[in-house]
């Protein structure tokens, strides 16, 4: 489905954010990409749809090499790659409905976009998505009137509005409080599964990653240092990704609810 071959990005000034990363995403699964700040997580995600131009390597989506495409071809390809952002990146002064419909901008004409005359089936789909993400009745609210959690719900609806083949998610929860973060993360994972979408999710909350992802990719200093199921993530792996620390508390969270509860009680006493 999606294959990254030796993907590298060196920013101006010679900082190698991404150094020859090769990854294959063949199935519709939720992949959590974890790693310390500056490990290259955002760069990796942004190199896939070329919001950041990779300096070397290839991104192959369903046989098409995105890195070799012209701007016009890239725009067509981007329609099928949806993205959810850390700071939501909604157009603040537009309504919720306009933001959701902007997911269709790759498909409608300039005039349709300018006068907000989207095809009826798009509008219908937008209403259905707003209901699904829990924002029924909010279509005419302006984006800047919403809370953080609500904004990210709009961001999710906008992404799915594209009817993408793949979902790129960049730190979807780090601007949210812990409870909202968990709800939003569950919503993204749930929707990806519902629609059979592969989702690449940058996340720095290791606990959430281990709880909801089917596969974990660990990045450190621009290199892939781990790739495997959540069950295989142990203290040694986390040390390899983040450096040495006491990882027992972090890992305890993935244990079954009852076990985790008793373990926490033991630790407290």
């Amino acid at each position: 489905m999606l294959r990254l071959e030796g993907l590298s990005k060196t920013y101006e000034g010679g900082i190698a954010a991404l150094d020859s990363c090769s990854l294959e995403f063949a199935r519709a699964e939720v992949v959590a990409i974890i790693g310390p700040s500056g490990a290259g997580k955002s760069t990796l995600i942004r190199c896939i749809n070329r919001l950041v131009e990779p300096t070397a390597g290839r991104v192959v989506l369903d046989g098409g090499d995105l890195t070799a495409m012209s701007h016009r071809q890239l725009r067509r390809a981007r329609r099928e790659i949806a993205m959810i952002f850390q700071e939501f990146n909604l157009v603040e002064r537009l309504t919720v409905m306009e933001n959701v419909l902007s997911g269709r901008l790759g498909y409608v004409s300039i005039l349709q976009a300018a006068f907000r005359r989207f095809p009826p089936h798009d509008i219908d789909a937008a209403f259905a998505l707003l209901d699904r993400v829990g924002l029924e009745g909010f279509e005419n609210s302006r984006a800047d009137q919403l809370s953080g959690g609500q904004r990210q719900r709009v961001g999710i609806a906008r992404a799915l509005m594209q009817e993408p083949k793949i979902l790129l998610v960049d730190e979807p929860t780090s601007a949210l409080d812990p409870k909202t973060a968990r709800t939003i993360f569950e919503l993204i994972c749930g929707l990806a599964r519902e629609r059979g979408l592969p989702a690449l999710i940058n996340i720095h909350d290791v606990g959430l990653a281990l709880m909801f992802a089917e596969r974990v990719v660990g990045l450190a200093r621009g290199h892939v240092v781990f790739d495997g199921p959540p069950a295989a993530v142990d203290e040694a792996v986390l040390t390899r990704i983040y450096g040495a620390a006491d990882w027992r508390q972090t890992l305890r969270r993935e244990e079954p609810e009852a076990g985790a509860g008793s373990a926490r009680r033991e630790a407290a006493s």
Binding site: N49, R78, N89, R93, L94, S102, L105, G106, I110, Q162
Partner: protein, 272 residues
């Protein structure tokens, strides 16, 4: 305090001065230079002091001729006043529309390359460096005297101001919102319509109403060089020493400028 001083071991207190001796010398030199420049400018102006001392008497004389205002004359200036407002309004709209592409090229974060940035800057500086009256003179020659010349002069002189301020607004947009629209596969035009315009709309409206307010004042003046509006009437009245008519015209201009200032302030408060 004495205790601490003793603890410090008898060494002299530490000294702190905001400016060093060298900096103070330079400051003194700068002050001296400034005063000398002012004295030189005042003497070089070659003022004829009897005329200056005569001024209060002249003011009294002129005031005597200007009152009472020739109120019935007000009916004659209704049409030129409306023309003045029309020149300002249409000039602002045309200038505003023309300034949008210039603003897009003048914004560092949107301009395609150095050449376009440079071109936009030349347009901005060119439009701003020439005074409205001079533009009006030029276009009165090109289009002949009348409101058309005034309208074009107002439009051209508005481009620089509007484009510069809107470009500054564009430079402050949030790149994340634009990035999100680009990520959907939207092309440049759609990114502009959806990602950029909504963000700069308050700036555009604010700058345009502010400029309209300025243009009302300018279009009252440019008639002095034949570019239409109330200025022509004012010029005629002054040339024929009809000072009581001049008073009525000045009162009318004052009322319209005050009204436009109020309207523009109210509009800006509403829109932002």
């Amino acid at each position: 305090m004495t205790g601490t001083r003793q603890e410090a071991g008898g060494r002299p207190p530490r000294v702190w001065e905001r400016y060093s001796r060298r900096q103070r010398m330079w400051q003194f030199a700068a002050y001296l230079g400034g005063v000398m420049a002012i004295v030189w400018a005042a003497t070089a102006m070659d003022i004829y002091w009897p005329f200056v001392l005569d001024a209060p008497e002249q003011i009294g004389d002129l005031a005597g001729r200007m009152v009472p205002p020739d109120w019935p004359f007000f009916l004659d200036i209704v049409d030129p006043m409306i023309e003045t407002i029309n020149i300002a309004t249409i000039g602002t709209l045309v200038g505003g529309l023309l300034s949008i592409p210039v603003a897009l090229l003048a914004a560092q974060n949107l301009t395609p390359n150095k050449a376009t940035l440079w071109l936009a800057r030349v347009i901005v500086v060119g439009s701003r460096s020439v005074n409205e009256l001079v533009w009006a003179l030029i276009f009165a020659v090109v289009f002949g005297p009348g409101p058309a010349a005034g309208m074009v002069a107002i439009a051209v002189s508005s481009i620089g101001f509007t484009a510069k301020l809107v470009a500054e607004g564009i430079e402050e947009i949030e790149p994340g919102q634009v990035e999100a629209i680009r990520a959907t596969g939207a092309g440049p035009a759609k990114v502009l319509i959806y990602g950029i315009l909504p963000q700069i709309m308050p700036v555009i409206v604010g700058v345009m109403t502010f400029r309209w307010d300025i243009n009302i004042r300018q279009s009252a003046i440019i008639g002095l060089v034949g570019a239409g509006g109330i200025g022509i009437t004012l010029n005629t009245a002054m040339n024929s020493f009809a000072w009581r008519e001049v008073t009525v015209i000045l009162i009318a201009i004052f009322a319209i400028v005050a009204a436009s200032e109020w309207i523009s302030a109210t509009l800006r408060k509403r829109m932002i």
